[in-house]
Structures are given as C-alpha cells and as structure tokens.
Subunit: 413 residues, 2 copies
C-alpha cells in the first residue's frame, strides 16, 4: 500500500480528494498498486468531512512516515511550499505539484534534488491546468526540434478579452464580471499583469529547451491597458487580441521569451480559444503546428492532472522519469529589444495624413489602419523591425507631439 | 549501442530515417542511450542513398540479430506486417508501428504477446499522425473517466469537405484535387468510405476503455454521397459537415462507436479544423473537453511520432510501459440503431408544406430547414430519437412517395 500526503486543502487540494475518491477503482488499476491518501496537511480543521481523520498540522509527521512515497503539493506560493517540497525530495519521496510559481522559480533546484535521490518531481498541472502539455512536449514530441511555443496560458485574462470583444465592454467591467464569477481573484494582479502566464512560459521554456528560465528574464506585459478602441481596431484589421506567452530558440542558441497582448488573425487556431479556455501551440521541425486546447484552470481539471501525475509517479517508483533541465545561465535569454517585431500603434493626431507622413519618415512603410468612428488619432502597423528600433522611432514621434495611445504586437500564428 | 531495424522504406520509413538523422544528437540525449538504425527491410534497392548498406531483404536477419532491441514497422497493411511484428515481439524485441490497420485488427493479440515477453508495443503514430493523442489519453488523462471521444481523424476527407465548403466544388472535383496534390491515393476508398477513420476509432476506443473493438463492429459511413445541396443546407443551418469518428461508453457498460459525416455547429472547436488537419476531442469527467489539433498524416509528422515512440521504448527497455487492453467480447459494442440521434434529412417533394405535414406525423416536432435556391424538396432536422425509430419513419416516408435524398447526423460538440 502506497501512502500519499496532500499538502493543502484549498480548491485544488479538495479537488484531488474528489477525483481520487470518485475514480478510485480505475486509478488503482492504472497505477498497478494499491494506494491511499493517508495525510492532508492544512492549518484549518474540517470536522464535517468524511475524511476529517486524515488532517494533520505538522509537516514532520508526513516527512517522517516512511510509508509516504508521494507528496502532493497544492498549497501554492513559495513559503512554505518550497521548503516542504525540497525536504520531501531530499527524504526520497516523490513530489507532484500544481504550483507554477514554485516550478518557475525553483524548478532547476528541485529537479536536481529529485535527481539526487532518484525520485520523480512531476508538475503537469502547473501549465494548462488539466490540458496535457508538459508530458506531450517532453515525450511525444521528443523527436522534434521545438521551433517555437505560443499559447493562451491564462484563463482569466482570456475571459476578460473575450468579453471585451463579444460584448464591447470595457476592461474594468469585464474584470468585475470575472471576479463576480470567481474567475479572477479579489487582487487580480497576477493574472491581469501577465505574471501567471509568465511563470507558465518559464516552465514551458525550461522543459522544451533544457535550461531554466526565470520569470524576471521574461519581458511581461499584461492586459490592463487594452482599450475599447484597441478592440475596434483589431476587429477592423480582421483579428482579435489575446494575451500570448511565447518562447523560441534563436539561431545563435539564445532564447527569446515574452508575455504580451497581441493582435492575431481570426484564421489562427489560437483566435477561437475563447472564455476561460487555454490553447497552446507547439511548432516542431517535423510535426509542424500542434495545438492543445482545454480548460486551463479550475478545481477538477487541475486536480485530474495532479492525480494523473500521482499515478505516473507510482508506476515509476523504481525507474525515475526523465525530466531534467540545467540551471539558468547569464545571457541565455536575449533582450527582447533585439528581436524583430511588428507593432500596432495608435497616436493622438489632429491630422491623420500629417501624422502618417511623420511615421513613414521614421518607420518606413507602415500600414495604416482606419476604424470607423474613431477620431483625432492615427493608427498603423509597423513593418518587422528590431523592437528597439520601433521604440526609438516612437520616442521620436512623441517628441514631434504625437502622444502614443497604445502599442500592441502583431503576431503571425 | 541499441540497434534498431526499420521494416519498410516507403513514405513513413524514409521519414523515420530523415528525422532520426536530422535530430540525432538530441534524440540520443533524450533516450539516454546510444542507438543506431542497423537494418532497413525493403524488397527494393536504394543504391544512391547514403545509408544503402543498411538494406536487407530477409526479415530473419533482423529477427536473429540479438543487438536489435527495437523493430519499427512502417510497411502498412496486414501481410506480412502482422507476422513480422508478432515474431519480433515473441523474440523479445520492442515494436513501434504507425500501422493503424494492424493495431485495429490485431492490437489485443499483439499487446498480449508484448506482455508475455515483457517488451513494449507502441503505436502513437497510428492515430492522428504526429499529434500526441494515445499517450495523453493513457497517461495524462488517466485520472479521468473518459466520457466520450470525437474527432476528425482523416485528413484526406477533411481536405475534400473543406474544399466543398470554401469553394463550392463537387465531391468528385475535390477528390480529384486531393489526388493531384498527393493527399488521396489513386484508390481513395479507404479514406472516402471512412475505413481509415474507423480503424482509428477502434484504436482510441480500445485504449480509452480497455477492451478491443474491431472495425467490423463500428458502423461506418463515408463522404461519397455528400452533395453540394447538403453543403448549402449545413451553411444555412450555421455549421459545417465533417467526417466524425466517435466513441462513448453507455451507462450499461456497452460501447457506442460510429464513423459518419455530421453537421456540427460553427461554434464547435472541431468546426475550425480544416484542410488536411486532424482534431480530436476527449471529454473527461474531471477535465471537461480537451482538443488536440495538428497534422494527422504526412511523412515527417508521422515519422516524428514513430521516432518519439522509439525513444520511449529505449528509455523503457527495463520497465515495460503499461498499455494493455482485453480481447474483444460479443455484445460489447452496441447496435447503433438503439442509440438516440438527431438527423438532417432531405426528401424529394413537390409541396414542402405537405411533405412536412407527413414528416411531423411520423417523427413529431422536426425543425424545417430552408435553403435559398433549392427547390422540389423538403429538408428538416429530426428530434433526438433512437436511430432505429428514425430509420423506420424514413421508410414510411419513402412509402408515401417522398424519396430520401440524404441523411446526415447532427452532432452537438
């Protein structure tokens, strides 16, 4: 009998219990071993739950019980999750987590610890919730050189953007609705500022290219500045705005990674990923584009990914899975200003013709965009230029008394 | 050094060599073992290829070489593929195949043989080409009860249907174009009659529900009878026609499986899967809907899935992967006529009003569909009824001198 300990009984933790109990027979069958959830660590008490006798408050109980072979960390945050996970791995216990912050910040160190004691550290649920993405990336696509990964990685912001497009509501109203429906936290910063997507990009990048990427090395922009006018222009252009996290390997071996809102064409497979859904495109040199689509968050989807990792860990108690990446390295992630981009830009201008003459003098052959009903401004899409050049041109434009109203990258997926 | 033998040097076989050679360093690194392709079995000779010295004509050479630990079967068809694969497994060699006919017809037997000698029999490339689907289904979604699977599993028919919708061409012309572009064989029956999709449904069903399903037990309809009028009606209704393969477990434990063209709404994630692409939706009780999208066929996508399986086999030389299913059982797959369906129907009728009055007498509250420019017929969508009841009502309608022009199921994904 394999004993499992679950750290944290919040949304995901209670979902893990629910999935584990509901599909118990088939889970045991798939794992090929009897197993039970022996402990649940939480500061709170839940006397009314049928499994109230499993709750403990002291992590040492779990750490010192040799029967516990798998520790499930679903507390979130770094403290005390990092300490608990590291000590579990060092004690020779397998760890499964859904904690993207933990993996994005300490992934390399924790994988090294798992390597040391020959146990598994699995975190499928940390990216894309229940959507299978990390395992397909490391296993099914292993014969490919991964050219690029781009995805809608955060359901909250995607819900907000979908509402802004479908119903023409402002960002603030869409956010308020997301909060009311429980899709956004009371403090929504981690979602709307792009941090959550950034952590997932770090995990995807680290796994796909084998070297740890830290959140602070990924240029990240959120969606708080997206306006109703931006939405109108995107529609006139023939597309939508999505918060896209992406990573690709440059020819010189360095990595480019970014999280930002972007115009994408209605024809793109990512354009139809709406509401709280996530969609992740992986571009391989042999396979071409593969897209994974589903619920990127939520209690049961995330819990089902956690439990699938538990099954996998139990099946591989003897033989460790091969997930590994190297520690981070200075200069590995390039400065995004070096990389060519095409940018949608809006400036305040009394005369559109004059403004565009100035713009063309600075940026060359831009494409003008016109949006019925929007006045006193000029909008255009720049050619592909290193982003630093675009930034300098926009500074010059500002100096010519054309205040910049918005800049949104235009992506071609 | 692990030796690999490739059986067959056709499209997929030469692709396997290409992928293996191109990404050799990273493949070796991921497998964690040195490996080489030692033999290629083919009746033909390829003196101009750089690896011409690897070709052999006698399978016994491969079978009797103890260095060969992995046999890659990419010949297609059953004879001699079945014999070669079975003997390889019995000789304790791991086998990787892309051969959907082989797995659909002999999967249970071959998995049992692999079980016997404790080796791996892997076939990710047999469904969805390069799209990861079988491994996510058996591993990542293992904590879910799989409610249903539905997918666009055949690229050739999807290309034809896409052309019929986008460009209004007739089936025959779209097929001729597919043949010209190399997407369809000179004898296109296996694709357009639905047999290829049926084999993939059998593999998905067997894997998801743990018991072998044979092609002859899956009711299969192709797309040869889809007309320009059907396309117009589907558009008027607000959707498209796709060839959908699907399987689900009924409450009584039996299985329902079918391949048929179907109306699906434009809002469906499967509706935007166009051209030669495949899209497979898996509905789990915890995860909800997950969709996998990508190139379902083609030399390099398929080859990359084969090579990924080779890597996995080499990583698991000591510990066998846990893919298994039970032999088929009489009565396990239900008669499709028992299962409720909603059907789009067109009948020849001089008076639409009179025809619909007769229809409503037989089928209850049908929804009339009108398509501008189409005359002398009536079209409607039936309520959800056991398909046998619909069939009987249509027979009665025919007896009332309303010849049936077409029947296409309406699905709600």
């Amino acid at each position: 009998m394999i004993a499992i300990a679950v750290l944290g009984h919040g949304t995901v933790g209670s979902g893990v219990l629910e999935v584990f109990n509901k599909n118990h027979a088939s889970i045991i069958e798939k794992a090929g071993e009897e197993m039970e959830i022996k402990y649940i660590l939480d500061r709170r008490e839940f006397p009314d739950l049928p499994y109230h006798d499993k709750f403990v408050k002291d992590f040492e109980v779990i750490l010192n019980d040799p029967d516990v072979r798998v520790v499930v960390e679903v507390m979130g945050g770094l403290d005390p999750a990092f300490d608990f996970v590291l000590r579990s791995l060092k004690a020779g216990k397998n760890v499964v987590t859904s904690n993207k912050e933990l993996v994005a910040v300490h992934g390399a160190e924790l994988l090294a610890a798992a390597h040391e004691t020959n146990v598994n550290f699995l975190f499928e649920a940390s990216v894309g919730g229940g959507i299978p993405i990390l395992r397909p990336l490391s296993q099914c696509l292993s014969a490919n050189r991964i050219v690029e990964i781009a995805g809608i990685l955060n359901g909250t912001t995607n819900f907000i953007l979908t509402k802004m497009f479908r119903e023409g509501v402002a960002f603030e109203d869409a956010l308020a609705l997301a909060q009311k429906l429980g899709y956004a936290e009371r403090n929504p910063a981690a979602d709307v500022e792009g941090d959550d997507a950034c952590r997932k990009v770090c995990i995807l990048a680290s796994l796909a290219y084998g070297r740890h990427v830290y959140p602070q090395n990924v240029h990240t922009e959120g969606i708080t500045h997206i306006s109703a006018e931006d939405v109108h222009y995107a529609e006139a252009w023939g597309g939508v705005i999505k918060l896209i996290g992406r990573v690709k390997k440059l020819d010189d071996g360095r990595l480019f990674a970014m999280v930002s809102p972007a115009f994408i064409s209605r024809e793109s497979q990512l354009a139809t990923v709406d509401d709280v859904f996530n969609g992740i495109m992986v571009r391989g040199d042999a396979i071409g584009d593969v897209v994974f689509y589903g619920r990127g968050a939520g209690k049961l989807p995330t819990a089902s990914a956690v439990v699938a990792d538990v099954i996998d860990a139990v099946k591989h108690l003897a033989a460790r899975k091969y997930i590994d990446w190297e520690p981070a390295k200075d200069g590995y992630v390039c400065d995004y200003l070096e990389v060519p981009a095409s940018m949608f830009v809006r400036v305040t201008a009394r005369s559109r013709t004059e403004a565009l003459r100035s713009v063309r003098g600075l940026l060359g052959n831009v494409t003008e965009l016109v949006c019925p009903g929007v006045e006193n401004e000029a909008a255009f899409i720049t050619p592909m230029l290193p982003e630093g050049e675009i930034v300098r041109a926009l500074q010059a434009l500002r100096a010519l008394d054309y205040p910049i109203l918005s800049t949104i990258r235009v992506l071609d997926y």
